[in-house]
């Protein structure tokens, strides 16, 4: 049995992806922020996949200490049940904020959750992924196009604009995946970004207000159901040999921004390492090799 970790599995796209992987026989470790919503989601997954091996861990992934805690819990589970191996990590938790809001570290919330949380969680789980030759998937978005990183102020402390901050966080997802491949493809770990298309979820109505809420309520009506993009997650986790491209829409490679260059990816890596207080190794070392 393969093991998958899916963040933001308590609703929307993450929930549908969890169902998809549970049906394909994965043991799924879902991460959500709210206990009651997680329980509800577990019920839904079991209803769709009766012998699913599914459990939820609760963490507010915007806060770095919570990422650290939940990473530790995941590591324990993998060690006890799966020889410390992780086959798939899906960094999907995301949010939209109408206003400039910060985390405990004082980081802008969309950047912190949509990008930094996945960056840090992946760092914690890197050797587990290495042992399994695992795959890292990010939920990106078409909206990353026609946008450049605001290197001078990634936290938008000047001229905050909800959509711009969101776009930047989604461009970061691709840069992060590119950076992972540049570093660890040689070690057997692959990273991908899923473009889910427009999906009918509640993302634009959680902790938002006024205009953002209103616009999203209009927009989401034109979106597909979350089950539609879910297949792409199954495809990217399962297909052998590993698919070659970086960015996928409905199981097919898709075009992405020209901003996704090695240089920008390295720059984002360096910045994110500093903001998370960690350093990615130049190669994945699993403990076995370490002791030799």
């Amino acid at each position: 049995m393969k093991y998958a970790v899916i963040t933001g599995a308590s609703s929307g796209i993450g929930l549908a992806a969890s169902v998809e992987l549970a049906q394909k026989g994965y043991a799924v470790i879902g991460v959500g922020r709210d206990e009651a919503r997680c329980e509800q989601a577990a019920l839904q997954i079991r209803a769709a996949a009766p012998d699913a091996n599914i459990r939820f861990l609760c963490a507010d992934l915007m806060q770095q200490r919570e990422v650290a805690r939940v990473a530790h819990e995941i590591t324990e589970i993998l060690l006890q049940e799966h020889e410390g191996k992780l086959d798939a990590l899906i960094n999907n938790a995301g949010c939209v904020r109408s206003w400039y809001t910060t985390t405990e570290e004082g980081y802008e919330q969309q950047f912190a959750l949509n990008h930094l949380a996945g960056f840090l969680l992946t760092w914690f789980l890197l050797s587990q992924l290495g042992r399994a030759g695992g795959r890292v998937l990010m939920t990106g978005s078409e909206s990353h196009k026609q946008f450049r990183m605001r290197w001078h102020d990634v936290m938008f402390s000047r001229g905050y604009n909800p959509l711009a901050a969101y776009k930047q966080s989604k461009l970061s997802n691709i840069l992060f995946a590119r950076g992972l491949n540049d570093r660890y493809q040689k070690d057997g770990v692959r990273a991908y970004v899923v473009d889910p298309g427009l999906v009918c979820t509640e993302i634009g109505c959680k902790n938002t207000g006024g205009l953002v809420n209103w616009i999203w309520n209009m927009r989401k009506k034109h979106g597909a159901q979350p089950e539609v993009p879910a297949g792409t997650y199954g495809y990217l986790c399962e297909t052998e040999p590993a698919p070659e491209e970086l960015y996928y829409y409905r199981c097919k490679p898709n075009r992405y921004s020209k901003q996704v260059t090695r240089e920008n990816a390295d720059r984002l890596f360096a910045l994110s390492e500093r903001l998370c207080g960690v350093e990615y190794p130049s190669a994945i070392v699993t403990e076995k090799e370490k002791t030799i």
Partner: protein
């Protein structure tokens, strides 16, 4: 520039810490929440090349403040700026709250602010200007039923700021009273804004803009800073009407908002 920020692990405190860090100021951060302090310290240090010192302190306690002052003195720090941000806001009817909770509003918003302000003014850097911020609120502009004590405590800060500004002018102390409307700092605050519907969103001020302009104003001249054109207009017309009428109108508005929104969720929220 050495800056002390109280209530530094709350939403506005963190935004001001970022703003100062971005300007290259060194920070001394305090809050009752020690863990939150460590987080914002890490965040500011990782983003900006400045020195950040933290000390957890219960500003409502004389002993705790004495200890804070001792540690400042042992480090020999002199300050150029004090940003008084710490404050509480217990929502809801006067009689629905415990007497202690209500008195606590004054203990923190007023007594504690006086305690730390007095101590820091005496530890300002010799011969240089000093910048002093009081975080009042739009609520200071009118008597506010259902937030009666809170609004009065903020009125206290407003008047204090205006008076001290004159009194300390020739000592080169700039004093600013910041009077924001809603600030979307916490999930509860965001829910509160949403519950007030149109007026909630319309009177909400963008946190990052408020933070930047607050420091700009404080350094330029002090005075009273009411962010947002709509808030300034409402304040202006509010002053033309008898205070009793304004209070009655506010009472109606809050009552309606509270039907959508459990005030208990807001208790002890940092402003």
């Amino acid at each position: 520039m050495n800056v002390m920020i109280t209530g530094a692990s709350g939403g506005l405190g963190r935004a001001l810490a970022n703003e100062c860090g971005r300007r290259g100021y060194n920070l001394f951060l305090t809050d009752i929440d020690a863990r939150g302090l460590k987080s914002i310290q890490r965040g500011v240090e990782r983003q900006f090349n400045v020195t950040v010192t933290t000390a957890a302190c219960d500003l409502t306690s004389d002993e705790s403040v004495d200890e804070l002052v001792r540690s400042i003195d042992s480090l020999g720090i002199r300050f150029d700026m004090l940003l008084n941000v710490a404050g509480v806001d217990y929502e809801g009817g006067f009689l629905e709250r415990s007497g202690r909770d209500i008195v606590r509003i004054i203990s923190l918003n007023n007594e504690a602010t006086l305690r730390i302000t007095h101590a820091l003014l005496n530890r300002r850097r010799e011969g240089l200007p000093f910048y002093l911020l009081f975080t009042s609120s739009l609520a200071s502009m009118y008597p506010m039923p259902l937030k009666a004590t809170y609004a009065a405590s903020k009125r206290f800060l407003l008047d204090l700021a205006v008076a001290l500004r004159e009194e300390l002018r020739d000592k080169r102390v700039n004093v600013l009273a910041l009077c924001p409307g809603g600030l979307a700092t916490t999930r509860e605050a965001m829910r509160g804004i949403a519950a007030q519907g149109f007026w909630g969103s319309a009177t909400t001020n963008p946190l990052e803009v408020v933070s930047r302009k607050t420091i700009d104003r404080l350094e330029a001249r002090g005075g009273i800073y009411i962010p947002g054109a709509l808030n300034r207009v409402l304040t202006f017309f509010g002053k033309l009407l008898p205070r009793r009428w304004v209070a009655a109108a506010i009472y109606r508005r809050w009552q309606k908002a509270q039907e959508h929104w459990k005030p208990a969720e807001l208790s002890a929220e940092k402003l």
